[in-house]
Amino acid sequence: MERNVRLKVIGSVSLIVVLLVTMLVTACAPKSAGEEPIKIGLLANKTGGLAAYGYSHEKVAIAAVDQLNAEGGIAGRSVELYVEDDESKPSVGATKFRKLVENNGVDFVLDSNSSGVAVACCPIAKELNTIYFPCSSATEISGDKGNRYIFQACTNVREECKGAAKFAVDNIGKKWVTVVVDYSWGQANEEAFTTYVTQNGGTVLASIRVPLGTSNWLPYLKGKIPADAEAVYFANFGSDFLCFLRDLYAVRPDIEKLGAVYAISARDPAELGAPAEGLYCLTSYPTRLAGLDTPGNKEYRDIIGVNSDGLEIGTDKYFVLAYDWAVWEPIFALKAAIEKSGWTSKADNPALIETLEGMHFEAGVKFPQGDMYYRAADHATIAGIYVEQIVNGELTVAAAVPASEVVYTSLVDRTKEPF
């Protein structure tokens, strides 16, 4: 027994030694001489609860950087992408954010789909003088939880609900019930939708909050939805959404349904069957090309390898498209702003931030989602949103809500914040 015990110990000890060596090597890798590349870090959710979304965000970011380098990079400098996995956990996300900036020396950081990670990284971005484009929809990121170094890259919950409320009351129904998953994203959707529906003359009869990871929604729906409710606004996704849809259909097959952004992302509408017939769902980016048939969008989808129906070319699996544009567009926004402000290093961050504040971008291959701008006051992305509907198993865009109807008065004024 003695001999193979020693073998096993040597095995595990040498593994640790190898680790320590790589630690030192990567820590002080010599800076490459010559023209200094611009380094962009990506905080992707490659594992954990949002693993599927991390996969698509990483693929889109790589495609964007390759496209950028093919067009000569930014201000003549090539762009390098560093990807780190935040495991969909705020503590790991914050650690990896520091690693990207301190260890890999990135100049900008993009994305984390998890609001928890984004909120955790906001103070660190300011501390490390790094401009950060979180791709999560918590409204506070453009409010009291963000700061002047933060540009929320995607539409936030308040914008989405404001835009949807008018359409919902006019076209779907007056008496609503909200059913959300009981964590921050769900609660934010409930509160925002309720305020804006009442503003538009509708009423919310009941607000139901269901704990995370519930596979049986019947106990929370049966007898809880008032008989006179005409429609349900729901905020859940993944397995929660699939179970919710089936159980809601069992309790109230007739009721109209409007889902929050993300609810049906990467979901084959035909597969959802009868319960999903007529279902409306918000989205900031139409799944099918037909919903946003512009040459820029067509080229964007070709570059990231997605066909006109939203399937990934090669695997023929549904690709998570909902917020990919919010990973793609900031890279090109950075190119425009850096070249406009003459940014060369982090020392010029204030100038770059001031340039980005209020900067407008026209729709095209670089901004496939449509015209947008970063509002100077709270650095929120002001862009239009869309309402998709499943009509006999097909996804069609029922309405395009222009940016003007999405805008809400800013909660803070970043321009007055010191750097």
């Binding site: 009981d182 106990p219 929370y220 049966k222 699939l242 309790v251 990467a266 084959d268 549904y318």
Partner: protein
Amino acid sequence: MPSIDVSTLLFLLSDGLLWGFTIALVALGLSLIFGVMGIVNMAHGDIYMVGAVLALYVLEWTGNFWLSIIIVPVVIGLLCVPTERFVLRPFEGRPAVTMIATVGIAYIIQQVVLATFGGMHEKMPNPWPVVINLFDVGYSGYRVLIAVISVVIIIGLWFFLYKTSYGILIRASIQDKEMANAMGINSNKIAMATFALGGALAAIGGVLAAPVTQVFYLMGADVILLCFIIVIVGGLGSLKGTLIAALMFCTLQGGMSIILTPVEAKVAIFVIMILVLLFRPRGMFAK
């Protein structure tokens, strides 16, 4: 107290009871592995998950869901044998070490499934889309069917353990390993069989539950704590206790949500479990 209309209450109680049978399957598997063998199997939820994932693959390859009820438990049972033989065998008798070893196994299973199956929530189509009227609700017939299948499997398990000679060998050698060895029973082989049986039960639970809970590589987390509570509140080593605790837990969860908000219902059930543990420290039916 808000007025409770009886039909809703009855509906929720029966829905909870039906769901309780499937959860009981998974819990019985854990009861065998943890309650009887003393292995604190933190990977039990992930074996349940692999059962659901394999069911999806079987559906894709053979186009028939019902085959997976036979194929998947056998495949996972066979996978459990080497796991017990090479990984867990030396740790038996040391619960804390088995807990960490199975946490290691859980990490491996989760990440392998993530790497192969992917991180997407996949929908498992309902294999028996019949709708029956249960207290004027269009209730999915499939949920009643899996309850029936679970009952059949539980009776089969009872028959196997308490009536067949091999079953008696398992129960004997688990309760008193030294005595069983003294009587010539190869307790190592029995331990492998028991662990495989426990894993197979979790896998069947996964297969049956997949169309209800859908398939996601972290779905095991929703079940692992639930099963441990059920096994312990039911009474360590008592399969009967586990079955009753599973049914009680799920029915209670259904009923509670009639008066409490969803989060309060879950918290209330946890509090009830704590009270049960305080007044019956050895669980309800502990030997």
